[in-house]
C-alpha cells in the first residue's frame, strides 16, 4: 500500500466510513463520526503507522485533511 492508501485506510477505519475518499478540503464538519475522540485516534494511528510523533501544537493546527498532508510532509512522510 502507498502512504496515501495507508492514510485513507486509517481514516476509513476510525471514522467507520468504508467508502470515505480523502480530499484536502475534507473536515470534521463533513463526517458525523469525526469527533474529538476520533480525531485523536486518527493521529495516534498515523503516528504508529508512519513512526512519527507530533507535537500537541501540530495537531491542534489541523483544520482539514490538507493540513494533515502538509504536517506529514514536514515530518518526512511523502504522500
Amino acid at each position: 500500500m502507498t502512504n496515501m492508501e495507508n492514510l485513507q485506510a486509517i481514516y476509513r477505519e476510525v471514522l467507520k466510513k468504508p467508502d470515505l475518499q480523502l480530499t484536502p478540503e475534507l473536515t470534521a464538519r463533513d463526517v458525523d463520526s469525526w469527533d474529538s475522540l476520533a480525531h485523536v485516534q486518527i493521529i495516534v494511528e498515523v503516528e504508529k503507522k508512519f513512526g512519527v510523533e507530533f507535537d500537541l501544537d501540530d495537531f491542534l493546527a489541523i483544520r482539514n485533511v490538507g493540513d494533515f498532508f502538509k504536517l506529514l510532509a514536514r515530518y518526512g512522510v511523502d504522500l
Binding site: W34, S36, L37, A38, V40, L56
Partner: protein, 308 residues
Amino acid sequence: MYKGGETDNLAAYQQLTKLNRLFLEKYPFMGSAIKSGFAAFGRTWADEFEELLTVMFPSEKELAAAADGYVRFALDVTRRQSRFDDDGCYPQKSFDKVAQEVYLNDNYMQSHYLPGLLLSHLLWPHHYRQSRFFIATFLRDMETMGARSFIDAGVGTGFLSRLTLQAIPEITGIGFDISPSSKKFSEHQVASFNMSHRYEVRVLDLCSTATKVESDWLISAEVLEHLEDPMLFLYKLRGILCSGGKGFITAAINAAEIDHIHLYRHPGEVKEQLQQAGFTVEQYQSIPAYKPRKADAPPPEVVAFIVT
C-alpha cells in the same frame, strides 16, 4: 424533563453560542460538543454552563483562551488514553516530577490545565453526571442537616467548592491544595460568584504536615489517583472527618492523564481502600466516560463515594 429537539434554543445562550462558534471555526472536531451536551442534558445543563461562562470568561478574549485551553487539555488526555489502551498502564512518574511538571507550573496550569478541567465538568458527560450526583446526594444532605462549614481537600479548579457555596448561602469553606495556581484559580472562581468572604484556599500538602483540621463535611474529588500512596492520604482524610460527619470522595479509574500516578483498575479497589482507612461507604456511583472502544481496553471512569 427535557424531551429533546431543543437544540435550536442554543441561540438563547449567548456565551454558549460563542463557545460553539469558536469550536466550529477553530477546532471542527469539537463541533458537536455543545449540541451533544444540550441534547443529552437539556436546559439545566445549558443554564449552568451559560452561568459559568458568563461569570468566569465574560470577554471574547477570555472565552477564546478558555476554549483553547480546553481543547489542548482534552486532546492531551485523549492521546494519553489511546496509549493506555495499548499499554494497559500509566507511564511511571514520581509525585515530585508531576508536581514540577503540572501543579507548580503556573503557565501550564493557568493556560490549559485549569480552564480545561473546569470546562470538562460541563463538556464531559461522565464529569457532568458526577456533579449532578454530588448535588442530588451530598449537597442535599448538607442542606437538610444544616451544614455550616466544609473542607475541600484538593480543590483543583474549585468547582465543587463553588457549587457548595452557591447551594448553601450561609456556609463557609476551606480548601487545601498543593498548587498555588489552584488556589488562585479557585479563589478567583468563588470571588467571581461574589462569595469570597465565605471561602479561602490554603496551599498545603495535607500528607506531609501535621496541621490539625477537622470538619463534619468533607469533599475530596479526584485526588487519590494523583498520589503515590493514596492510603496515606485516606488516613489523613479519615482524621479530618469528625465522628458522625459525611464525606464525598471520588477517584478516576483507568484514566491516563498527565498527572495520574496510581492506577485504579476497578471502583472496588477504591472502596476497599476507603474501608481500610476506616470509612463506611453509604452510597456510590460509577460512571464510564464512553462505551469501550476495544474489548480489552476499559474506558475511563469516575467513581464517587458518600462515606461516613
